[in-house]
């Protein structure tokens, strides 16, 4: 544990989500699912058809990430976040289906922020471009679905003390807005 950071165990309970505020630094431990662009499209297609999803999404946390390949004997390659905004078009639907946490980088759409408030879910950001560093917090990686997508396959990851910051909370708090207000100079 690092001073000033809150330990968060997954899956996220409503009680924990209620305590998280934009700007809070956290260390996340537990199971997260790596899901990015192409896999999001497929999840939505499955929901449209009324099919069962390849993992139970209710209560879970998704990490927007497609790793580099593991070398023999490695758990995973570099494993930093990708830009969350590309998932915005799919995300409210997944939140409605029970998704509670998302980890990525960069700003979200108004629709996503509204869904976080309405359904009690939280969006975290982590350090883009720190793929080597973040890979050290991943203790286990198991394929879940869509292996033919290569780097975009869904993975079940076990993480310990994965560093992140609460970006959008259930109260409408927004890390990026706060940051700009605080550090902006001039007009």
């Amino acid at each position: 544990m690092v001073e000033g950071k809150i330990a968060v165990s997954l899956p996220l309970s409503d009680g924990v989500i209620e305590k998280l505020r934009a700007g809070t630094q956290v260390l996340i431990s537990g199971i997260i699912y790596a899901v990015r662009d192409a896999a999001h499209r497929r999840l939505i297609q499955s929901l449209d058809k009324g099919e069962k999803l390849p993992f139970e999404i209710r209560g879970q946390t998704i990490y927007y990430m497609g790793p580099s390949p593991a070398r023999p004997g490695q758990i995973i390659g570099a494993a930093g976040p990708t830009t969350s905004a590309r998932m915005d078009v799919f995300t409210p639907r997944l939140i409605e289906s029970g998704l509670k946490g998302m980890i990525g980088k960069g700003e979200r759409s108004a629709a996503v922020k509204d869904a976080l408030k309405k359904y009690k879910a939280v969006y975290f950001v982590t350090i883009g471009g720190a793929g080597a560093l973040l890979s050290k917090t991943i203790k286990k990686s198991e394929p879940v679905a869509y292996e033919e997508l290569g780097a975009e396959a869904i993975l079940k990851l076990t993480v310990e003390d994965f560093p992140a910051v609460v970006c959008n909370d259930i109260y409408g708090g927004d890390l990026f807005e706060q940051a700009k207000t605080r550090y902006r100079r001039g007009g």
Binding site: P69, R71, E107, G186
Partner: protein, 281 residues
Amino acid sequence: MREIKSSVITEAVAVLCREANFELGEDVLAALKKAEQVEESPPGKEILRQLLENARIAKEESLPLCQDCGTAIVFLEAGQDVHIVGGDLNKAVEEGVRRGYTDNYLRKSMVRQPFSNRVNTKDNTPPVIHTEIVPGDRLKIILLAKGGGAENMSRLAMLKPAEGRQGVIDFAVKTVEEAGGKACPPLIVGVGVGGTADTVMLLAKKALLREVGKPNPEPEIADLEKEIFKRVNDSGIGPMGCGGRVTALAVHAEVLPAHIASLPVAVNLQCHSARHKEIVL
């Protein structure tokens, strides 16, 4: 006429892919260290510290700096007295990228057909190749591993000539502000001014290859860089958008002559993981 074997080119490109993805350049590291010292925001400072730690781990353990190992963009400066033997130059470069990305466990991020079924080519080919014929009998190869996040936030504007210098500055600043945390700041901001719609973006991209923070030798252009740099760093976006003083590590601008009707401006954004390596054969 000097002969260079295509197999030598393949091997050189493969090595550049590896070096670019595992080792940040000394200039980028120095810029990140300086940023870490001047950054006032606690989260911003912490992120910069972690990026330096990330670079150390990547180099020591041969782990990619970033899981997005990029589109392989290859700049060739071919001396007019060079004769490539033993095979097609472009194929030799492509094979180098294939081997470099496969042998070093780098992520393959290219899809064959971008607007429909997006099937991964599984070997990170094709690369983007820009070839220039120059005097001499050497072949210079520069490999830029360009991540998708920052490239996605790059923009082109065909301004009216009356918008002038202020128009150029405003467009560059607006591009960085709209990119926010998505393009992985602190950025290197490549700005191309002039030329045509096609050449201006290439100009902006080539500006990214300059040593980080080295001003344009032309004083008027260096002043333009300075002003954009100040405005961008006053935005408050900071490292990864988490707030702070360091939104850009540098602004590099390059200029070309333009048509009497035109003032093209291109902004090509480079994330902090500025990965390029070069070799002269």
